[in-house]
């Protein structure tokens, strides 16, 4: 990979994305070997710098690195205003003194990985920053879609949930529209980002917005449900869980508006009964578990492409 860092999907071109997906597909068989180890990244140090709690993404990167024989270290940073002491520049310098080859950063502030990437020699992977981007999630989602549908272009993909605060939505919108799929972003009016309509022209005219879930799901090939964060209720974005599920939750009945073989995705963790009904999450068209396996493969591919030469 010619880039130093992987900070977002927006700046990637289709060739770069395909390189990652193809490499991920080739590396997937590692998980079915009796000895899940290749020596490719032996001697490389990967640091998981998580300023925001996350078990699944962090574990996924950890396993990916370890299967590639890298030395992986997890650091959980606190971002309470009490610990105003250490600034990002101190963090970056610490990484360089430890000769880290690669850092995976998750942070609640958009742009934090960009700031650190400017200040460190290590290759930086954005594990999710604020409401900005979550590139590895979009890549694993694309791999999952490609494996189930044979392609990532020419599909109708509905993304439903808290679009305003979702980095997963943003990264997926960038990726899927780049490949010529139509993305329907659907949320309650309070959870739709400002000036979203101005962004429509950016994404090759393939981004559509609606507050109607039925319109978004109509004949969709892929349904992507986003996690609802309960803190939103305290800020009056919507009145209650019950109302949310009624209008924006994925019930079996709602899902039937989509194509009969539509796949159902979710970045996890699921709030059963809030954004998605249990029987839908566990049903035959749910690919939620496939996403996790794809996540491992994609993260291995990215680590290999950034560090493997």
């Amino acid at each position: 990979m010619k880039r130093k860092d992987l900070l977002g999907i927006r700046e990637l071109d289709c060739d770069e994305i395909l390189e990652i997906l193809d490499t991920a597909e080739s590396m997937q068989e590692l998980s079915s070997r009796p000895i899940k180890k290749v020596p490719t990244l032996r001697g490389k140090t990967i640091i998981n710098l998580f300023f925001e709690a996350s078990t699944r993404t962090r574990t996924s990167f950890e396993i990916a690195g370890k299967w590639l024989s890298a030395d992986v270290v997890n650091i959980s940073m606190s971002t309470s205003s009490v610990s105003k002491g250490e600034t990002l520049i101190d963090t970056a310098r610490t990484l360089d003194s430890m000769s880290a080859d690669c850092v995976v950063i998750r942070h609640s502030s958009s742009g934090a990985p960009h700031t650190i990437a400017r200040m460190t020699k290590a290759r930086v992977i954005n594990g999710g920053d604020g409401a900005h981007e979550h590139p590895t999630q979009a890549l694993l989602d694309a791999l999952t879609i490609r494996q189930r549908k044979g392609r990532i272009s020419g599909l109708k993909v509905a993304i439903v949930g808290d679009i305003a605060h979702s980095r997963v939505a943003r990264s997926n919108i960038h990726l899927l529209t780049k490949f010529g799929s139509d993305v329907w972003a659907c949320s309650a009016p309070t959870l739709m980002p400002v000036k979203m309509d101005e962004l429509l022209s950016e994404n090759q005219g393939r981004l559509h917005i609606t507050t109607s879930m039925d319109e978004a799901l109509d004949q969709a090939d892929v349904i992507m449900m986003l996690r609802v964060q309960f803190e939103r209720m305290n800020e009056s974005f919507f009145p209650s869980v019950r109302e949310y599920f009624r209008y924006y939750g994925l019930s079996r009945e709602r899902a039937s508006h989509a194509k009969s073989d539509a796949i159902i995705m979710h970045p996890g963790p699921i709030n059963r009964g809030v954004e998605i009904a249990s029987d839908v999450a566990d049903g035959p068209y749910s690919v939620i578990l496939d996403q996790i396996a794809a996540g491992l493969a994609v993260r291995m591919a990215i680590l290999y492409l950034l560090l493997g030469v």
Partner: protein
Amino acid sequence: MTLKPNYQLMNADEMRGTLNRLADEILSAHAGRDLVLVGIQRRGVPMAQRMAKTMGEKANVRPQLGSLDINLYRDDLTHAAVQPIVRRTELPPHIDDKDVILIDDVLYTGRTVGAALRALTDFGRMRTIQLAVFVDRGHRELPVEPNFVGRKIPTKDNEVVEVRLTEIDGEDAIYVMEKA
């Protein structure tokens, strides 16, 4: 870096003849045993497939097939100028106690085979691992020797041996190229 052809080493007929001979040699060396033909990505893979077909036609022997991408096992010096594409690695299950024949198009420094040996150890404990190559061009950097060779030729440092296969390149031929 541009390459210009120096001379043609083999044409399609000669390649077919060589492949048949290699198949015979391997069969007689391993009569009665469970064979696994593992093609090293990229051109070793169609070669292994052709070899298996020939063995089936000649002797009604059906060896298992596998493919191995060694890019995840490279040591530093085999790094290409451009990061190579990682392709499929697929080996049959229960590979313990079987006889594996690694198949590749060209044997040069021996580092690819070294990486392949490293890779295979993680898949189980095979009874034997042997090496079959179409062309041995010399210049070894590791103590690796083929068990079955199609043709052995001396080459210069600035030459490249290009094996072309219909499945990938649209024609069957072997050329010795020179770096311009």
